[in-house]
Amino acid sequence: MKEMNPIISIKDLSLAYKKEKEITQIFEDFHLDIYPGEKIVLLGESGSGKSTLARVLTGLLPPSARISSGDLVLQDIHLDLNKKFMHWNKIRGKRISMIFQDAMEALNPVITVYDHFKDLLLHHKIVPEKEVRSFAKKILKQLRFEDPEHILESYSFELSGGMCQRICIALCVSLEPEIIIADEPTSALDIINQMEVLKALKSLEGQTVFMITHDISSASMLADRIIILQKGVICESGSRREIIGHPQDPYTRKLIDAYAAVENIQRRKNPEHGEVILQVKDLQKTYGRHKKVLDNLYFSLRKGEVFGILGESGCGKSTLSRCILGLEPVGHGEIMYRDANLLNLNTKARRQLSPQIQMVFQEARGCLHPNYPILKIVQEPLVYNKLYDPSTREQMAKEMLERVGIAEELYERRPPQLSTGQCQRVGIARALITKPEILICDEPISALDVPLQLQILDLLMQLKKEFDLTVILISHDFRVLKNISDTIGVMYEGRFVEITTNPSELINSQNPYVQKLVQASHNAFAELQKNAQ
C-alpha cells in the first residue's frame, strides 16, 4: 500500500494554543500520510492532540490556535496552513467529510432525515431534486438500514444515537468524499450502538476513513492501520495486528494491558451476604402520559453485595437510580430502605437519610462545583447535613482525599484545574465521607480513558471492602460488571429481564436482548484477543 501516493498528507505541522500569555505547544514538525482506501485509526488519550488534528484537516481550528508552519496536501491541492485559506467550503463536505461525536446534536431536530439529504445533495449539486429520494434510499440501503423509507421520514429525536450516527455516515458517503474523518464517533454511544456504527464504517469498502478514538476496542474493530498519539507525537504506528499483537512502545502496551485488565479485575466474592437492606417493589414511572420508563420493576439488595445493572442507554437504569435517590417522583411502587419506605417520607426525613445512600456520577468534572477548592467540595455532605464541627470536617476531608490518592498540594485547586481522573477521585471521596451504607455508581468509568478506568474501578473495589459498602454499579458494558458483581440485573425497557448471580449464565442466555448486549461487549474484546495472538 505504501507505494501509492498518499491521498492526504500533513507536513511539518507546528501548532500551539495561545491563551492569554500561556502557550501550549501541541504539535512540533508533525508528519502524517493517509493512503487511499485505508481505514486508519488515531488512538490517544485526552489531551494528546487528536481532536486538534481533525480540526486541522477540516479547517475548523478555534481562534486560539496558532500554526507556525505546516502544509496540507490533498492530491492536487496544496495548502499552506500558515496562511489564511478562504476556500475551505470547496473542500469540506465534498472532499473531506467529517462525522462528530454527538450525532444527535449534529442533525437538525426540526427537519426530517430526507430534508438533510435534500439540502446536502442539492447544495453540492450531486443529483437533481426529483432523484434525491431514490438516491438517499440507495445510500441507506447500502449502509444496511432495514427500512429506508421510514428512516427518511423520521426526525433525529425519534432515532437512537447509533442510528443518528449511521445517518451522518450515510450523509457523508453520499458526497463520495476522498476521506471521512470520524472524531470519536462511538464514545457517546452504548455498546450495542457502538458496534452498529463501527460495522457501518467498516462496510464502506474502498473508502478512506480516518477515525479518532480513545477506545482501543473500537480501534481493533475497524483499523487497517493504527497510529498511537501521545502528547502530539506519534509513538507507534503499524498494522492492527502489529500494534495489538506486538506493541513495542511502553505507552501502547500500557493501553492494551489496561484494557484487558478492566475485565480481569477480580474481587473475592462473598456468597454469604447479610440481610436485605434495599428492596424495590413494583416500581412504575411514566414520562408524560404514555412513555413508560420504569415498569413493574422488582429487585432486592443485600448488605455487602455488588449489584450490577446492565442495559443500553434509554433502558431506564439511570432513572431507577434517580428514583432511589429521591430525585424524581415515582408513579407507583415501593422502595424500602431497611424499615422505611423512601417514597412515603417527607422531604426532610428523606434528606436525613441522604448520608446513608450516596452516589458517584458519570460526569466526573461536571458534578463538582467549579468555583470551590476540592477540600471544600469534599466537605459538602457534612456541611449540608450539619455533621461534626468545621475542624473535624476538614480533618476528615483531608483523610478521605489522601485515601483516594489526591496529593496534598492539590487540595486548594478547583475542578477545572484537575484532570478527569482526579475529579472522579474527588467525587468518590465526597460520596464516601459520610460513610454511606449504599453507594450508587452510575457509569462511573465510561467517560474515562482506559488506564484511568482501571484505576478508578480498582479504587472503588478497595473502598468497597474498606468501608463495607453495598454497591449498585450501573454500566452498559458487560465486561465491567462481569467479574466484580455478585448479582447482575439486565434491564430492558424499564424492567429487569434477567437477574442472575452467575454472570456466565448471561453469556448463554436465551433472551435475545441479553444475548445481543453481552455479545456486543464480548465481541469487541474477542476481536482484540484474536489479534493479539
Binding site: 494554543y17 492569554e20 485526552s46 489531551g47 492532540g49 481532536s51 486538534t52 478555534p62 486560539s64 435517590l325 430525585l327 434528606r351 436525613q352 441522604s354 448520608p355 450516596q358 452516589m359 456520577f361 460526569e363 461536571g366 458534578c367 463538582l368 462545583h369 467549579p370 468555583n371 459538602e380 455532605p381 449540608y384 447535613n385 478547583r414 477545572p416 484545574q417 467525587g427 465526597r430
Partner: protein, 274 residues
C-alpha cells in the same frame, strides 16, 4: 489584555467622574440650584455660570449636579429593588417549575412585558399622584418582569447541571441549594444584566419626569430639566444640552461597564480546550 478590560476601564472612569462631580456638588459650585433670580435669565456660558442659566435665572451647572443626586440615587435604588425582586421571583419560579406558582408568575411577567411602559406609568401616576416615590413604584412594578424571566431561565438551565443534582443527592436543603449552588452562579450574569438595565432605568425615570410625572419643581432632576429645556430650545439650548450630555455619559458608562464585565468574566473559560 483580556477581552473587555478596555470597556470596563472607560466605563468605570466615566461613572467615577460623574459620581464624584455629583457628590461634591457643593465644592464645585457656589450657586444655589433653586434660587430664582429673574434678571439673570438665559445667560450664556461664562466663568461664573459654567453652563449658563435657565428661564428662572438658576445656574444650570449646579442644577445638573444636584439633579444628578436625585436621578442617580433613585435609579440605583430602583435597580437594586427590581433586581432583587426579579431574582427572588425567578429563582422560586424555576424551583417550582410547572407548578401553579410558576405559571402564575410567568403569566404575570408576560402581561407586564406586553404592556407599553409609558401608558401604564401614566395610568398609575394618575391614581397615585405625582412624586419621586410614586415614580419608584412605577419603575419597580414594571421593571422586575424581565429580571424574573432571566433569573428563571438561568436557574432552569442550572437545575439539570450534574453538580446541582449532586448537591441534592448529598443532602442539601432547598435553601442551601439556592444560597450555595444557584445564587453564586447566576449572580454574575444577573449583575451584568442589571448594570446594563440601569441605563434603561435612568432613561425611563428621565422620560417619566420629562412628562411631568415624577419630580416636583423647583427641585432639579435630569428628566424634568429636559422637559423645561424643551420649551426654550431656541433661546437657551444650554438648558436642553447639558442634562442630555450627563444622561448620555452616564448611560454610556454603564453600558460600557456592563458589556465589558460580560466579556471579561466567563467562569468556564478556565477549562482547558480538550
Amino acid at each position: 489584555m483580556k477581552k473587555g478590560t478596555l470597556s470596563i476601564g472607560i466605563g468605570s472612569f466615566l461613572l467615577v467622574v460623574i459620581l464624584l462631580m455629583v457628590l461634591s456638588a457643593p465644592l464645585l459650585t457656589a450657586h444655589d440650584p433653586i434660587h430664582v433670580e429673574s434678571r439673570l435669565r438665559f445667560l450664556p456660558m461664562s466663568g461664573s455660570n459654567l453652563m449658563g442659566t435657565d428661564n428662572f435665572g438658576r445656574d444650570i451647572f449646579s442644577r445638573v449636579l444636584y439633579g444628578g443626586r436625585i436621578t442617580l440615587s433613585l435609579s440605583f435604588l430602583a435597580m437594586v429593588v427590581t433586581g432583587m425582586l426579579g431574582m427572588i421571583v425567578g429563582i422560586l419560579s424555576a424551583l417550582y417549575h410547572g407548578k401553579a406558582f410558576d405559571v402564575l408568575c410567568m403569566r404575570t411577567v408576560d402581561v407586564l412585558l406586553a404592556m407599553p411602559f409609558l401608558v401604564v406609568a401614566m395610568a398609575i401616576t394618575t391614581f397615585l399622584g405625582r412624586g419621586l416615590d410614586k415614580l419608584l413604584i412605577v419603575v419597580v412594578l414594571m421593571g422586575w418582569a424581565s429580571f424574573a424571566r432571566l433569573a428563571r431561565s438561568l436557574t432552569l438551565a442550572l437545575k439539570s447541571n450534574p453538580s446541582l443534582v449532586a448537591a441534592r443527592v448529598l443532602g442539601a436543603s432547598t435553601t442551601t441549594l439556592v444560597l450555595r449552588e444557584i445564587l453564586p452562579r447566576i449572580l454574575f450574569p444577573m449583575v451584568i444584566n442589571i448594570t446594563l438595565e440601569l441605563s434603561g432605568i435612568i432613561l425611563s425615570l428621565s422620560t417619566l419626569s420629562f412628562f411631568g410625572m415624577g419630580n416636583k419643581p423647583p427641585n432639579p432632576e435630569w428628566g424634568s430639566m429636559l422637559s423645561d429645556g424643551r420649551l426654550y430650545m431656541t433661546q437657551a439650548p444650554n438648558m436642553l444640552i447639558w442634562p442630555c450630555v450627563f444622561i448620555f455619559l452616564t448611560v454610556l458608562g454603564l453600558n460600557l461597564l456592563g458589556e465589558g464585565l460580560r466579556d471579561y468574566a466567563n467562569p468556564f473559560e478556565m477549562i482547558p480546550l480538550e
